[in-house]
Symmetry: C2
Subunit: 218 residues, 2 copies
């Protein structure tokens, strides 16, 4: 299936931080200034009043709020504070790489991955050397999806647009002709992070099919 | 000084949660659906490319990211995970009450406080009874500004728009004719949460005056 990433390429540096304050704080302020650009990265999903596309900054907030509200569905022993931290930084690379639709093809996914690696390199090295690598490691952990924390974070990242499509009565499922079988592939990833949320997502898909705004497929 | 809150009043209920899943999860999904509306609450400050006003959802994300990046400036012993949780929920009441400009007069502040209390009552009771009160308590703690966690969270909430005004070369300071002495009143609140960030904010004000985009005032 064809799908183009909204890939603006590396953006121009927004310039130095404030001309004042101790060196680490100036670097941190510079990073936080750069981070502001995530508010201008449009995702595929709309916000729930349907008025416009969601941006990746407000999406990240929604996910972190979900981690707080849905914490009981994480596997026992999951470090929920690391989940939250991961969710806060997980989309920063989109400042350079743009957002890729979750149903994009393999070639587009590979291009996206390369762009995101370059973006991570640029962004996290803006921070003081004693701090950048730790935040970069959080992003790597999210991408690698090996730890329970990363799996739970990724589950939320998949569940949120699914809920949006459900509430919007179709959303990107309808816009892109996505069928239930394709959505269920993503549900497997949710179940991998949280059995209870996986079950809930499966029921959402069934309900959407039943209500007629998601195509049952084959 | 006159200033109007963008106060839409209580919004219509967005309806029931999904028709599926166990009761607590349905309530939580409903709360998270309601929370989506924070993406439509405009603040006074612009995003840093100057293209539009910031909304309260992406602002909340930026603050939570600040808590992660600037954690070393919190007083020793501060529970930074509680700071983050507080920042994630602190603006939810604006879904009903709207955002009030930080330099609004006392009467407007009092009206805003009443509207926010009613909003907190409505929103947090959407959650399961075993969860709503704990999240409501986080919001109360933020508002009361007594604990080190609340003071640090409030410091970040004041510092973020100050940094935005600095980077925008004036921003709301110029739009509303705010003078350095008024900004320094807010800096005191930052210093109350973090000595280092208070000092940094004071230097930002000096630098803004020096560069000519903040009026020195009396």
């Amino acid at each position: 299936m064809e799908s183009a990433a909204t890939s603006p390429g590396p953006r121009p540096d927004t310039g130095p931080g404030p001309d004042t304050g101790p060196e680490p704080l100036r670097r941190q302020a510079r990073f936080l200034r750069e981070a502001d650009q995530l508010k201008g990265v449009a995702r595929q999903s709309s916000i729930l009043d349907g008025s416009r596309k969601e941006n990746s900054a407000e999406h990240s907030w929604h996910l972190a709020l979900m981690a707080l509200v849905l914490r009981d569905y994480a596997p026992p022993g999951t470090d929920l504070n690391r989940v939250t931290a991961m969710l806060l930084v997980h989309d920063l690379v989109e400042i350079d790489a743009g957002d890729l639709f979750v149903y994009a093809d393999a070639a587009a996914q590979a291009r996206q991955e390369a762009a995101e690696q370059a973006a991570a390199e640029r962004l996290f090295t803006l921070l003081p050397p004693g701090q950048g690598p730790a935040l970069r490691a959080l992003w790597d952990e999210f991408e690698e999806r090996r730890t329970p924390e990363a799996r739970f974070a990724r589950a939320l990242d998949r569940l949120q647009p699914m809920l949006a499509n459900y509430y919007l009565g179709g959303g990107t499922w309808q816009q892109h002709g996505i069928r239930a079988s394709q959505v269920l592939d993503k549900v497997a990833l949710i179940a991998d992070g949280s059995a209870a949320l996986g079950e809930f997502a499966r029921e959402l898909v069934d309900s959407a099919v039943r209500q007629g705004f998601l195509d049952r497929g084959q």
